[in-house]
Amino acid sequence: MSNLYVARNPRVAARSLDGDMMIMSGQDSTLFTLNKTATILWQAADGATPLEQIVQRRICAEFEVEPGEALRDAETLARDLASHGILEISEEPIIREGAK
């Protein structure tokens, strides 16, 4: 059972280019584009919603995929995005002062 929370890193730059999400890392200015699944994860990563809930409500609703497998893939993806400084992950809700 995953109890991960994910939040968009406020230091990255991001823009949807007609459906393609462009992300520039705040760590080293590396540019990334996110695929559809990663874009859904990025957009839903508010720091307050558990990853498991994001997978159930957003990813499983969009793709025909078994929930357990989807969650494992989402965790791997979240950790990968976190390694590039795009997402932050925590086992506690991620709350920022002044966050909207």
């Binding site: 406020p10 007609d18 200015s29 540019l31």
Partner: protein, 375 residues
């Protein structure tokens, strides 16, 4: 440019998205650089609320890279409020252009916390007596370099921009050495931009043909000199179908007064965001669409020039010479300095007297003041 950025730029081009915008926050400045083409008086800058509204519109239009420049951006009391909004609320990739003399440790730390892609700082010489003689502000080099060190110590990417002029021609190796010692990047630009009222007297500060030739043969600058100075292959259909540059295609410029232009160096007014939506100007301005329609094959002189395949021709400088489809003489000089082969424009001028034309600003605005920052 990274492959991914090339790919995204191509997508933006295909979808008519303004991927990159330079927004000048003010034309006021605390330096008085001898080559600057700006009117430094404030003729009614956009308010904080107007700028935030514009940032909302630009984000919705798909703008990703936002360059904040001026004038001196730190003269705006709301600068950090604007920067925070752009970065943290609208998630732009922000680049700053500044002389940096108002940046101390506290400001550097705040910029790091907000997160910017880069900070470009104008440095004209490694020698205070030369730099300060160009900015006309005693002590300005010391303060700019101190700021650059504060910014570097915060892990930020700093780029020293060195404009090459008659006065500081001999100093660029010193500036490059200084940049290397500081661990920052360095760019060199020999382009001097005319004043926006058409006054071209400032161009006398530009380096001459002999000096350009020497600079273009400096291996430390250009790498493989033979390759850099090679004559372009004859233009094929692809080269003639190419866009003259990104101005009006994936980039544009907005002045502190809300005027929108194809580029900071292309003073063709296309609309004003105080009375029109940014995206409407971008998509529907007749002038923007005219700029957009031009291909290399449409340039009467340049399309037949031997340099057309690798010329750095700036459509904005051509416009300031009187014709956006005409040659840009400064770029003709650069091509000649590189290759020793005169451009079609230079050959044509030899056979007819020079005809300097003062630029005509359209009916939308009086003469347009523009940014002092030169890329």
């Amino acid at each position: 440019m990274s492959n991914l950025l090339v790919e995204m730029t191509e997508k933006a081009l295909a979808r008519n998205i303004p991927l990159s915008v330079q927004l000048d926050l003010t034309y006021r400045c605390n330096e008085r650089c001898v080559h600057c083409y700006l009117d430094h008086d404030d003729h009614g800058e956009m308010t904080t609320a107007e700028i935030k509204h514009l940032l909302d519109e630009m984000a919705n239009a798909g703008v990703f890279i936002l360059t904040l420049s001026g004038g001196e951006i730190f003269l705006r009391k709301d600068f950090f409020e604007i920067l925070e909004y752009a970065r943290l609320e609208r998630q732009f990739c922000v680049k700053l252009k500044t002389n940096a003399i108002m940046i101390r440790e506290r400001e550097a730390a705040r910029i790091r916390d907000i997160g910017v892609e880069s900070i470009q700082i104008s440095v004209y010489s490694h020698r205070p007596e030369m730099h300060d003689a160009i900015t006309l502000v005693p002590g300005s080099l010391k303060r700019s370099l101190q700021a650059a060190r504060f910014l570097r110590s915060q892990g930020l990417r700093v780029i020293i921009a060195n404009v090459l002029m008659v006065q500081n021609l001999q100093d660029y190796p010193g500036v490059r050495a200084l940049a290397e010692e500081m661990g920052v990047e360095c760019t060199l630009d020999p382009t001097i931009t005319p004043m926006m009222d058409g006054d071209r007297s400032v161009l006398k500060l530009g380096v001459n043909q002999d000096a350009l030739r020497q600079v273009f043969r400096d291996q430390a600058l250009v790498g493989d000199v033979d390759e850099f100075c090679a004559v372009a292959a004859p233009a094929d259909d692809n080269a003639l179908a190419a866009l003259p540059c990104s101005a009006g295609h994936t980039t544009c410029y907005v002045s502190p007064y809300g005027d929108v232009f194809p580029c900071v160096q292309f003073p063709l007014p296309t609309g004003n965001v105080r009375t029109q939506r940014f995206l409407d100007i971008w998509r529907h301005s007749d002038r923007m669409n005219e700029v957009r329609s031009i291909r290399m094959k449409d340039l009467p002189t340049c399309s037949s020039c031997s340099h057309v395949g690798n010329c750095t021709r700036c459509p904005g400088l051509a416009f300031m010479e009187g014709n956006m489809r005409g040659p840009s003489s400064q770029d003709c000089e650069k091509s000649f300095a590189r290759t020793g082969i005169p451009s079609a424009n230079m050959l044509a001028k030899k056979s007819s007297p020079a005809n300097l034309v003062q630029i005509q600003i359209g009916p939308m605005q009086p003469p347009i003041p523009m940014s002092g920052a030169i890329a």
